[in-house]
């Protein structure tokens, strides 16, 4: 019995050891980046030298000498527009596919489902040509309008609306509500968890996206943060404290949003996993 208990304790210790070890692996790069961003440039590769004082000059440098502040605003603007647009478009469509009967509903839904399998890279060439012909390269409309719908999110919204009991809908009918009324007054107030999952996943995806922005943002004033950071790193990689300050500036807003809404994040990610 004694040996069994100590074996149990040892295995419990192992679990904590592995868990903490992996937490170090994920957290150290962040701490290291913050730590280095606070060093003067000359000290950057003096790896284990202690910080002499908190030196925020690298942050002041990138925010005043480079348009990091402007890139931050671009990122926020584009992400907010794309998120709101997606939320409206996907929620409406998901609702119709779950709750309204109309001819060709099943067929249309399968078209959306089938499109989910097409990787985004197939669209690079044709969307670029389309936007170039419309003069939309390097514009806000080019960065937002083609990206206002997501079949995955329509699917997520539909799954949610399918689960709402139909008695609620009938109560609305008896009260004389129209289809819009039923949607807005009965279904929408219930859909906060689904909508917050959509908001989080869309915002995160757009805030961090790089492939489309690096293609569509050709002038410095249109850069969003990931593209701005990439170009800054390319030119100023001798100034690691400033480059890493930019990295923190890019990561921190998303990390703060995540820390505030971490329950919703986890739930949102888990729902995309249950298909």
């Amino acid at each position: 019995m004694e040996t069994k208990r100590s074996a149990f304790k040892a295995s419990k210790f192992m679990l904590y050891f592995i868990a903490i070890l992996y937490a170090c692996i994920t957290l150290v790069p962040f701490f290291w980046s913050i730590y280095t961003s606070l060093k003067p440039t000359s000290e950057v590769f003096n790896t284990f030298a202690p910080l002499k004082d908190l030196n925020f000059s690298s942050y002041a440098y990138i925010l005043t000498q480079f348009p990091f502040g402007h890139w931050l605003l671009n990122s926020a603007l584009v992400a907010v527009i794309v998120t709101i647009g997606n939320l409206i478009v996907n929620t409406l469509a998901g609702y119709a596919f779950a709750r309204l009967k109309f001819p060709l509903r099943g067929f249309l839904f399968y078209v959306f489902l089938a499109i989910m399998m097409v990787p985004g890279q197939v669209l690079l060439v044709p969307i670029y040509m389309m936007l170039a012909n419309m003069g939309w390269i390097d514009t806000y409309q080019g960065l937002t309008i083609p990206f206002l719908m997501s079949p995955v999110m329509i699917f997520l919204a539909r799954q949610f609306f399918l689960g709402v009991p139909k008695e609620l809908e009938e109560a609305g009918k008896i009260d004389g509500l129209t289809h819009w009324g039923i949607f807005f007054k009965i279904f929408l107030p219930l859909s906060m968890p689904m909508m917050s999952a959509q908001i989080i996943l869309t915002f995160q995806g757009n805030w961090n996206s790089f492939m489309w922005p690096v293609l569509l943002e050709t002038s410095q004033k249109m850069y969003t943060l990931p593209v701005g950071l990439n170009s800054f790193y390319g030119e100023y990689n001798a100034y690691w404290n400033s480059v890493l300050a930019g990295t923190i500036l890019l990561s921190l807003p998303m990390i703060i949003v995540f820390l505030i809404f971490q329950k919703q994040f986890v739930r949102g990610v888990a729902t995309t996993g249950i298909k």
Partner: protein, 307 residues
């Protein structure tokens, strides 16, 4: 399926389309309209157009001189050394990344599920996933710098570390480790969700039979998490095949050193927008599509077989 609200009104007026049904259909079309317009204009149309020009020698700079190529673009892929290297690298990347990230995600989920401080560990493990891939790439370029954190750490043990991203044999494995680091958290969440569905009784029954530790994991937990594992593996494969951001930032867009980090999507991007070979790049995109489609169908087949 037919028990929706309109059936009560339909019953009253047999054989006729009721006003309510028309209203409902109209509302349905209006609700779907924005999504449908976006689908046609920004997905279906472009996909069809891209498929069409994949049969042409087509440069965006010189659209007048496009000429019909038949299957030339597709056939040329098989003798294009850059594409073949990119395809090889992408396969190596996928074969390396997917099993490791799946195993680590499963292991961490099982551990986190059994210890205290679940919230802390979940946050710590998920942080890399909410971080921009560009930020992740830049952080690791610094850590993998010849004089960076990793080599400074190794030098404490008297080991002289290499120059990871400038060494053709080490650059791809280094990129792979970055990818694993940033995606494990997401898949761990999938596994945690899957673990919630396994009742304690299953474990109790197994414990009575004398199973414990890894045996429990291997013969009880893993089989019950099969669905999650399929999902994690297929999503992992699809994501791995589309890798672009990290290799673009790390190699400054050229897939170096000597092509060792060139991937299919990076090659596609360069062929389309540096060399302006839009037709050829489109053909490449559809080959990528076919590969990903095979993965997805494989997933559906495996999952469908189980139900």
């Amino acid at each position: 399926m037919d028990n929706t609200v309109s059936s009560t009104t339909d019953r009253r007026k047999p054989g006729r389309i009721s006003r309510s049904a028309v209203d409902q259909a109209l509302a349905g079309y209006l609700f779907v309209l924005p999504a449908f317009v976006s689908l046609v204009v920004f997905l279906l149309g472009p996909i069809v157009y891209s498929f069409y020009i994949s049969f042409f020698h087509f440069s965006f700079l010189d659209p007048q001189n496009a000429s019909f190529a038949g299957f030339d673009n597709y056939l040329h892929l098989f003798v294009d050394p850059v594409f073949l290297q990119a395809l090889g690298n992408t396969f190596i990347y996928t074969i390396g990344v997917v099993p490791i990230q799946t195993a680590v995600a499963l292991l961490l989920a099982v551990i986190v599920n059994r210890i205290r401080g679940k919230t802390f560990f979940r946050i710590a493990y998920y942080l890399p996933t909410v971080t921009s891939t560009v930020a992740v790439a830049v952080m690791f370029i610094f850590i993998f710098n010849p004089n960076g954190l990793l080599n400074s750490f190794l030098s404490l043990f008297g080991i002289q570390g290499p120059n990871y991203f400038n060494d053709p044999t080490l650059a791809l494995p280094a990129v792979m480790s970055v990818a694993i680091w940033s995606s494990v958290g997401q898949f761990m969440i999938f596994y945690l969700a899957g673990l919630q569905d396994i009742s304690d009784e299953v474990y109790e029954a197994a414990a009575i039979d004398g199973a414990s530790g890894f045996r429990l994991l291997w013969s009880i937990t893993m089989p019950l998490l099969r669905r999650t594992t399929f999902l994690v593996v297929v999503m992992g494969m699809i994501g791995a095949f589309q890798v672009f951001d990290t290799v673009y930032v790390i190699s400054n867009g050229n897939g170096g050193p000597i092509g060792s980090t060139m991937t299919v999507v990076l090659d596609l991007f360069n062929k389309a927008f540096k060399d302006m070979q839009m037709g050829y790049a489109s053909a490449m995109a559809f080959v990528l599509f076919a590969i990903i489609l095979i993965f997805t169908l494989l997933q559906n087949w495996l999952l469908g077989r189980e139900d």
